[in-house]
Structures are given as C-alpha cells and as structure tokens.
C-alpha cells in the first residue's frame, strides 16, 4: 500500500498538472501518511504542481535539513526534533495571515507543542499518535494463552514472554528515543529522563530481550504484521491500524490489534514546517491552509488512522476511529502518555550508544 500511495501521488502529479504557471511545491512527509487523493485535490484546486517524497525516520529528515538546500518547501518532523532544528535555524516563521484555517486547530494540542516551538511560530500539528504495541491476536493466544499481558509492555519487555513469541516474530522501531524510554517506563523510571544511567538500565533490559527480536525497523513491520511474518510490533499507532486493515482486506486469518500499554506510552506530534531556504514559501502556506480544512484533515485521518488536531474535523471522522481508544485515547489513558524531551548532543550520543549496544552487543 505504501508503494500504492507513492504511485498514486506520482500519477496525480503526472495527470493533474494543468497550470504549471501556478508554480510547484515540494513536500517531504512520512511514508503511508496521507490520503490517496489529498495531493490530487490540492492540485486540482490550485493548479500547483506537487512533488511528494517520503521518509521513515526523523534522522533522515534531519540530516537533509542540516545539510541545507534540501529542495523541500514543506517537511514534517516530530515536535521534539523540530525543537532542536528550530535552534539550528533550519525553519522560517509561518505567516499566519495566510493561514485562516489555523483557527480549526485544537488549542490544547497546540499548547502542548508550544513547549517545543514557543508561540507556535514555526509549525502546525499535522497528525499525532502514540508508540505502542501491535499484535496478532491468534498467534499470541496460541503461544501465551488467555492470560497474555496484551495490555502491558510486559508482552515484549518480559524475557519469558519474548522468548515464547520469538518464533512468530517480534519487531521494534529502529528509533532509540522511542524504544529506550518505553523500556524505562516499563521499569518504573521516568521515561523523560535524560540520565545516562537510566538509558543504561533500559538498555540492559532490552539486551536481554534482543535475542528474541527479529528486527529493528521503522516501516517494514506494517506489511510483515499484516502478512503474519511478525506477530508483535512496537510501532506507531496508525501504522499498526494500517496493518490491521491490510490483514482484513487480505482475509489471511490474521487479526491485528493496537494497544497503548497500561504503564503509559510516548505520544508524539508531527509538525508541518517550512525550511528557511524553501523556494515556494507562498505555495507551502497554501498547502498548509488546505490541510487544515476540516474535510481534508478528516479524509486523511479516515485513511491513515492517525488523530488530527482539527476540531471541526472531528464531526467528519468515522465513528469507529473516534471511538478507538488507541487513536483518541480517553482521559485516564491520556494522563499516562508522555511527550519526548529534547535531547542535547551529549544525551543523544549516550542514548544512541546504548541503542547500538542493544542491537549489536558491543
């Protein structure tokens, strides 16, 4: 489906370019993260020709931004990464007079991200979600029985459970700043700690589980979970819902579920921002405003199953999605969610070094 999305986007670009005079727009967004027709609708409405590229890790995006001249007019880093990139002078301030739809955004959520971007001067929330556990109901029940702790990090971080699930496949995101804090959360430590000792304790736990982990990767698990190649994935909420959809479509006997563990989970906000050296600033604003349209946002959420921060859009989102506690968590779950801190160079090196130790044993 990822390939399909890319193909659709490319096809949309190829077909709908009636008025090149309106200029171009280069967007760099996460893979599997937009509705199939969003780009096409924008092109039809404005005549702007869109080039839509995708990435699957904040690190790849950041490397391009820090090198400069990325060629992109609109990029989508997670908030904690954006904070550091703002300090590095990578982004320009938004011209809010060109964004009338910004009134649609949930002020509580925008308030949350103001911690990373004081005054919300640089970015607006695209989608938000959580990093939790996706699992194959049948295969887990087969191996762990009815008492399987599917509502807890213990499902993957407890060595005994992991050993029993190793043969059907465990995958985790290759994202140290998401997995190590989750392990810290399971151990009862503060997941927002930047203390090297805490990283080490979490890494010790992960090192014990690692022999049972099939791979660390941040996009492959969508297909593998759907096909039954892995049976548990620590991954991003919407990706796991997409895996569930694919499994349902394929009718291959795999039922995929997503859960926010009872101990808590990382919640992240992906931000739409304009690089300082963007060539098509005007068009980037037009696209931003287009995306904050209630119907357009709702279409995207209905397709990718990530929560939007758009209040009027809530009316237009499918009931099934609104009711899903994995997407729009109830208040008691929300209280347990944490937002990633901004890691300074030293903390970053420490957490990545522990991550390498987990993965390679060195």
């Amino acid at each position: 489906m990822k390939l399909k999305t890319i193909l659709m986007a490319t096809a949309a670009v190829a077909i709908a370019s009636p008025a090149a005079a309106e200029g171009t727009l280069n967007i760099y967004n996460w893979s599997d993260y937009i509705a199939e027709d969003t780009i096409q609708k924008f092109e039809e409405k404005t005549g702007i020709k869109v080039t839509y590229d995708v990435f699957d890790s904040n690190e790849v995006l950041e490397a391009k931004l820090l090198a400069g001249s990325s060629g992109y007019d609109l990029v989508v880093p997670s908030a904690s990464f954006m904070a550091r990139q703002i300090q590095a002078g990578v982004f320009q301030k938004l011209d809010k007079s060109k964004l009338p739809n910004i009134k649609n955004l949930d002020s509580a959520i925008m308030g949350n991200v103001a911690e990373f971007d004081p005054g919300n001067e640089h970015g607006v929330v695209y989608m938000w979600g959580t990093t939790g556990i996706g699992y194959n109901e049948e295969k887990i029940a087969e191996r762990l029985g009815d008492s399987a702790p599917t509502d807890s990090w213990a499902l993957v971080f407890d060595e005994g459970n992991a050993a029993k699930l190793a043969d059907c496949g465990i995958s985790m995101l290759d994202a140290p700043t998401e997995i190590i804090p989750a392990a810290m959360n399971y151990l009862g430590l503060d997941p927002k700690s930047k203390n090297a000792e805490d990283f080490k304790k979490a890494a010790d736990l992960l090192a014990k589980v690692k022999p049972h982990v099939r791979y660390f990767h941040s996009s492959q698990y969508i297909n593998d979970l759907a096909n039954g190649d892995v049976c548990v994935s620590v991954g991003w909420s919407g990706d796991i819902f997409q895996a569930r959809d694919r499994a349902d479509e394929a009718e291959n006997g795999n039922t995929i579920s997503y859960v926010i563990p009872k101990e808590g989970a990382l919640s992240w906000f992906d931000m739409m921002v304009i690089p300082a050296d963007a060539a098509n600033v005007e068009n980037a604003h037009k696209f931003l405003d287009f995306l904050m349209d209630a119907q357009i946002t709702a279409d995207i959420t209905n397709y990718v199953w990530y929560a939007s921060a758009n209040i009027p859009a809530l009316e237009l989102i499918e009931q099934e999605i609104l009711d899903d506690p994995g997407i729009f968590p109830p208040d008691d779950v929300k209280e347990k969610l944490w937002v990633a801190p901004v890691y300074e160079a030293r903390a970053d090196r420490a957490i990545n070094r522990e991550w390498t130790r987990v993965k390679t044993g060195q």
């Binding site: 490397a63 090196r349 390679t360």
Partner: protein
C-alpha cells in the same frame, strides 16, 4: 613541443576529474573530521577563517580520532567489515573461478552468450536485485514455500536477517566483478603452454596448479580487490538483510551521521576507512612493481 602539449592535453581530463571528484571532496571530509559538533546548519564549527584567499586561525584538532580509539565499537566495526569482505571475496573467488574458466574455454559463440549472462544482472538496479533476494528468503518466500511443499523441512527456515543472508547477497551482487577480470586473464592464456606441460608429463591437475593458476594471478588479485573494496564499505545489504547484531562500518557510519548528527565524528570514521583500504592497496602495488 607540440608533442608534449598534446600529451598534457590527453592526461588533463582524467586529472581534472580526479581533482574535482576525489581530491576536493576528500579534503572537505578531512576538514570536517577535524571540526567540532555544533547545533547549526551545517552542524559543525569551521576550522579556519578566510583572510582574503588565505586560511587563518586554524582551530582543528584530532579529538574525533582519539574518540574512535576510546570506544571498542569502532575498531570492532572495522574488523567485522574486513572479515565479511574477506570471506565474501574468498567465496566469490571459489564460485567465480570455475565459471570464468568455463567461459574462457568455451567456443566463441557460447562465450558471448555466457558473458552476456554474467553481465545481464547489471542491467537492473542492485537495490531491486536485493529486494528480489528478500522476496526469496523471507519466511513466506519462494525458498521456504518450495522446501515446505517438497517436504524437506516442516518449519520455515530463518534465512532473512542472518549472516547467511548478508554473505550470500554480497557474493551474488559482486560475483560479476570477480568473473570478468578472471575471464580476461584466462582467455589470454596461451594454450600451447598447457600442451607443453602435458607433453612433459604433467597431469591435468598439475598443469592447472603449476601453469594456469600462477598465470591467472593478476586476474585473481584484480577480482578480489574489486569485490573486497566495495564490500568493506557495504551499507545497503547489511542494513536490509542483516540481523540486528551485525556490526559493520557502513552501519556505524550511518548511526554517527544520522542518529548522533555528529558529522565530524562520522567524517573521521570515513577517513579511517579510506586509510584501511588505501594503505594495503599501495603496499600491494609496491610489492607488484618491485616484482616486475
């Protein structure tokens, strides 16, 4: 005089090419490796100021290189990469030599067809070929389903994300680079020498061991280098097909550059990698020219 000018004109383009695309980038990377990490764009501090055309206030240091020595991670990555490249080259040689030998001995018609078959994979992107291998190796892939159907195995084999996957993919990807130089030396081999050797009472094996093999040594060396050098820095294959425990310098470099955003340290890792490859090559070249 005109003769000399012509000669300079002939060697100028390759020199300009090397200067532009090797020497200048090399100095850029070297310069970054002496700098310090800083949160800005690009994320490192300049190591000198420009005073008109001249650099002044030089502030670079070797701190990053010392750091590589402090943490055994880097040395182990280099060693593991060298090991992987070494064994892949050996397997390529063992598989490639008989193939090259058969092609060189084939009739001219067959020879062209066989050579074409060797080169054919290069017409598709190596990334696509790796994805094809992933399709074959995966749990529900071609190899496992076939073996399950025949009844040789009852549980799918874990082929992906293993050492086997990485070694076999490197061998399959680089095999043509081994076969082609071997073929070109074997094909030039004078058959009269083999005839003479057999007239003098050597068995076919002795002829091969004492005549063919030593004469094809240049092809062996060239083929091994062509496989070994890119295999050391290989990133794509271990990243896509390797297990999480596979420590290779390409992946370590990626972590430094992308996860730590530490361009200076990543640059020094790259400089050392270059040294690891270039120094043995120069030694080999010297040894060869001394022998000639």
């Amino acid at each position: 005089m005109a003769q000399r000018l012509k000669r300079y004109l002939v060697i100028l383009p390759p020199f300009a090419w090397l200067l532009l695309f090797f020497l200048i980038p090399f100095f850029v990377v070297f310069q970054v490796s002496l700098a310090d990490l800083r949160l800005q764009r690009p994320p490192f501090s300049p190591i000198f100021d420009w005073d008109g055309w001249w650099p002044t206030n030089f502030t670079g240091d070797l701190e990053n290189y010392w750091f590589l020595l402090e943490d055994s991670l880097y040395i182990n990555s280099y060693l593991n990469s060298l090991k992987t490249a070494f064994f892949s080259s050996l397997v390529c040689l063992a598989v490639g030599y008989p193939i090259a030998y058969v092609i060189a001995r084939a009739t001219p018609n067959w020879r062209n067809t066989l050579l074409l078959l060797v080169i054919l994979p290069f017409w598709t992107s190596s990334l696509l070929r790796i994805y094809a291998l992933i399709g074959m190796y995966s749990t529900n892939g071609f190899i496992n389903t076939s073996l399950l159907n025949i009844g040789i195995i009852s549980e799918p084999l874990q082929l992906m994300n293993t050492d086997f996957a990485v070694y076999s993919a490197i061998v399959i990807t680089y095999l043509p680079l081994m076969i082609l130089p071997l073929y070109s030396t074997l094909q030039k081999l004078d058959e009269d020498l083999l005839e003479a050797s057999s007239d003098l009472g050597a068995s076919p094996f002795q002829s091969f061991w004492q005549v063919t093999l030593p004469l094809s040594a240049p092809g062996i060396v060239a083929g091994c280098l062509l496989v070994f050098i890119p295999a050391v820095g290989e990133y794509v294959i271990p990243a896509l097909m390797g297990g999480p425990g596979q420590l290779m310098i390409g992946k370590t470099l990626w972590t430094e550059y992308f996860n730590n955003r530490d361009w200076p340290l990543a640059s020094s890792v790259a400089m050392i990698m270059l040294a690891v490859l270039v120094i043995p090559m120069m030694w080999l070249r010297n040894a060869q020219s001394a022998r000639d």
